[in-house]
Symmetry: C2
DNA sequence: ATTTATGTTCGTAAATATACGAACAATATT
DNA sequence: AATATTGTTCGTATATTTACGAACATAAAT
C-alpha cells in the first residue's frame, strides 16, 4: 500500500503534462503541422523549423513521451503522427479546464 | 526595422506561453480554484497546497506574468483573481489549437 | 513604538530544459 | 564492401525551473 500522499489529482497531473508538452513554440508548430496533415516525416519538419536536427529529435521525444505523437521508422525515414487517442484526451481536458 | 527574423508566429508563442503557465500541477490547481470562485486570497490557497508560502508566491508570479491572473493587495492580505480577458484568449487559442 | 499577520523577495541548491555538433545506427544504393 | 541518406543518441554548455527558509515589507492592532 502506498504510504506516499499524492499531492495532486490525476487530472491535474495530466493537464500539466500535456500543457508542458505545448510549452515551447517549436512543439506547438510541430503539432500544428501534424494535426493539419495527420502525419509527416522528420525531414519535412526539419526543413521548415529553425533548429538543428538533433534538437528536433529532442522535441519530438518530449511530444512522444507526453503521448501526443507517435513515430514509426520507415527506414531511412521516420514518420510521426498525432496520437489521436491522447490528442482527444488532451483536448477534452483542456476544454474542461477552461470551462 | 527589425533585422531579426521571427522564428515563430505570435499565435504559436502565445499558445506556448499560456501552456507553459499550465505546465505545473500546482498551477493547474491554483487556476481551478480561482476559476471556480473567481477570486481568492493567497492564504486560502496556501492552506490547501502542499508547498511553502514562498514557493506559492513564485507560482502566482508565473501565472501573473503569463497574464492568466491578477493580484491586488488588500493589506495584509493579497487577493488573486482570474484575468478574464486573457483567460478567454487562452481558452480560444487552445480550443482552436485542438481543432 | 512594539508586536502581529500576511505575503513577497532574496539567496541558494538541485533538477530539468534547451541547444548544438560529433559520433553512431540502420538501411538502401553503388 | 563502400558510400550515401536519414535520424537518433551522446557529450556538453548554458539557462531556466522548482523548492525551501531567512529576511524583509506593509499595515493593523496593541
Amino acid at each position: 500500500m502506498p504510504t506516499e500522499t499524492k499531492k495532486y489529482t490525476d487530472k491535474q497531473e495530466l493537464i500539466a503534462k500535456f500543457s508542458n508538452a505545448l510549452g515551447h513554440p517549436v512543439r506547438v508548430a510541430i503539432l500544428q503541422q501534424l494535426s493539419k496533415q495527420s502525419c509527416c516525416f522528420h525531414g519535412d519538419m526539419a526543413e521548415v523549423l529553425p533548429i538543428a536536427n538533433s534538437t528536433l529529435s529532442q522535441h519530438l521525444k518530449v511530444l512522444r513521451e507526453a503521448g501526443l505523437i507517435q513515430g514509426e521508422i520507415d527506414p531511412p525515414k521516420t514518420k510521426y503522427c498525432i496520437n489521436k487517442e491522447n490528442w482527444n484526451l488532451a483536448k477534452g481536458l483542456m476544454i474542461g479546464f477552461f470551462d
